[in-house]
């Protein structure tokens, strides 16, 4: 995928996450699949998406930007992981994606401040339909451009960083996966609390755990 392609994909998925439809194509699982596929290494891109999906399971798209923006973080991480194979680059791509997604989150806050001037002021004496429609459509366009810029610069920079650091990653595959596992465990704990807490959901969770483990051993 070219840098332009990645930017356009990032812009489109950024729109999906809050501005248009919210079909959740912007969630890491779907965004990783799309970016991996378009980058020519579906498996690596999707894997980056899976890891970010686990991390961002509790990052609900609600209110202010307290979490990294999943859509841009995933396109950056997945496109980078697809161009640089191996466990080290994957860890670097995911880490970079998370950091860059945070910038994405800040850029959303910035746009929401800017939008105060883009949307019509209800107090304004002359409020015309054209102004209402124009302001709204301009805000949509700005969000697309924002997503594309964040993604494009992220993919470009991540490529440089990973190419530079590639080969210096000291951990083997098992330890890299172990590092991912620890991060995922935090997410799982938060999610169980959000589903009602251990005390209330103990039975269901443990039954699921036993079932999942049994299924895994039989697979």
């Amino acid at each position: 995928m070219t840098l332009l392609g990645a930017s356009l994909l990032g812009g489109a998925l950024a729109l999906d996450s809050t501005s248009v439809a919210q079909l959740m194509l912007s969630r890491p699982l779907a965004a990783g699949f799309l970016s991996g596929w378009l980058s020519g290494d579906l498996r690596a891109g999707f894997l980056a998406g899976v890891i970010l999906e686990i991390y961002l399971l509790v990052a609900f798209p609600v209110g202010g930007a307290r979490f990294p923006e999943g859509a841009t973080a995933t396109v950056v991480a997945a496109a980078t992981a697809a161009t640089h194979p191996g466990p080290g680059p994957l860890a670097l791509a995911v880490g970079f994606g998370l950091v860059w997604g945070q910038l994405g989150g800040w850029s959303i806050s910035g746009l929401r401040n800017l939008n105060i001037r883009v949307v019509p002021d209800p107090m304004h004496s002359e409020l015309r339909p054209r102004r209402v429609a124009g302001g709204h459509l301009l805000a949509l366009l700005l969000d697309f451009v924002r997503g594309a810029l964040v993604t494009g610069t992220g993919v470009w920079l991540a490529d440089l960083v990973v190419a530079h650091l590639n080969g210096r990653w000291p951990l083997g595959q098992p330890d890299t996966v172990g590092l991912f596992l620890v991060g995922a465990a935090v997410s799982a704990g938060i999610l169980l609390q959000s589903f009602g807490g251990f005390r209330r959901r103990r039975t269901l969770f443990l039954v699921g755990l036993a079932g999942g483990a049994l299924g895994g051993l039989l697979l």
């Binding site: 609900f60 949307v119 409020l127 000291p170 098992p174 996966v177 589903f195």
Partner: protein, 253 residues
């Protein structure tokens, strides 16, 4: 409602998919709400009356995006029926709270993570990527679109009296059911991760390079998340990114 054509209503419904498109810190969904209602308002009002109608709908509004259509449908009915503008304002003020609270709990905190877990479970069961994406997005969006359609139609039908229907729909009870299913799915997911693939061997749970350290750390991390809740997410992310950076720094020496 006679003054409003069905195509104007359909257009308002389609436009409601972009209701968060001009989210801003002053009027939040105000710009999007007025944009979505515009096709209806154009058929009901002319001239200065249209300006006044636009004014009351560009004002501050907030709701869960999937449920905002309920307020939109109701506003369309109220305006088409020629209701007192003050009633429209009071209705929109009163409906903000329930639509935000109920929607966030049902969709963002329960339905989204539960269906995403379906996709993750498919992945750890060995399903191909396209299938994982499908088992996440298909059920998610069936629920999502059903909720949007139900909300808009309920609003159109009941106007400012949607409260009773909303109470009878018992969204709170549905949220509880989805959360329970979510806890079960989370268990299945955790069980799978610990028994298959590279994560299982990394944690020494299934042969391979046994590293009890990772297992101990993971269990500790799980407990930290469970006790601390969502506010530990950011510190945890900083620790993970920090670990990646420090590993690199140590290796560089």
């Amino acid at each position: 409602m006679s003054a409003v054509t069905s195509s104007a209503r359909a257009s308002a419904f389609l436009r409601s998919f972009t209701i968060q498109g001009s989210w801003n810190y002053r009027t939040m969904l105000g710009g999007g709400f007025a944009f979505a209602l515009l096709p209806v308002l154009r058929q009901v009002f002319r001239g200065p009356q249209l300006t006044e109608a636009l004014r009351r709908h560009t004002e501050h509004f907030n709701a869960h995006p999937y449920l905002a259509g309920l307020a939109l449908g109701a506003a369309a009915k109220l305006e088409a029926d020629g209701c007192d503008p003050e009633l429209v304002r009071r209705f929109k003020t009163a409906i903000k709270g329930p639509l935000g609270g109920l929607g966030d709990a049902l969709v963002w905190a329960a339905w989204l993570p539960a269906t995403a877990l379906l996709g993750l479970i498919a992945h750890f069961s060995g399903a191909p990527p396209w299938l994982c994406v499908l088992v996440f997005l298909l059920p998610y969006n069936l629920g999502h679109l059903a909720l949007r359609l139900w909300g808009f139609r309920t609003g159109l039908r009941w106007g400012h009296e949607v409260g009773r229907v909303l109470r009878e729909a018992a969204l709170g009870r549905r949220t509880e059911t989805v959360s329970r299913a979510g806890a079960l799915l989370l268990g299945v997911f955790a069980g799978l991760v610990c028994t298959v693939g590279p994560a299982a061997s990394a944690a020494g749970l299934r042969g391979g390079a046994s590293e009890a350290l990772w297992l101990v750390l993971a269990v500790g991390a799980f407990v930290v998340g469970l006790v601390g809740g969502v506010r530990v997410w950011r510190p945890a992310a900083v620790v993970v990114v920090g670990a990646v950076v420090s590993i690199l720094t140590v290796a560089a020496r």
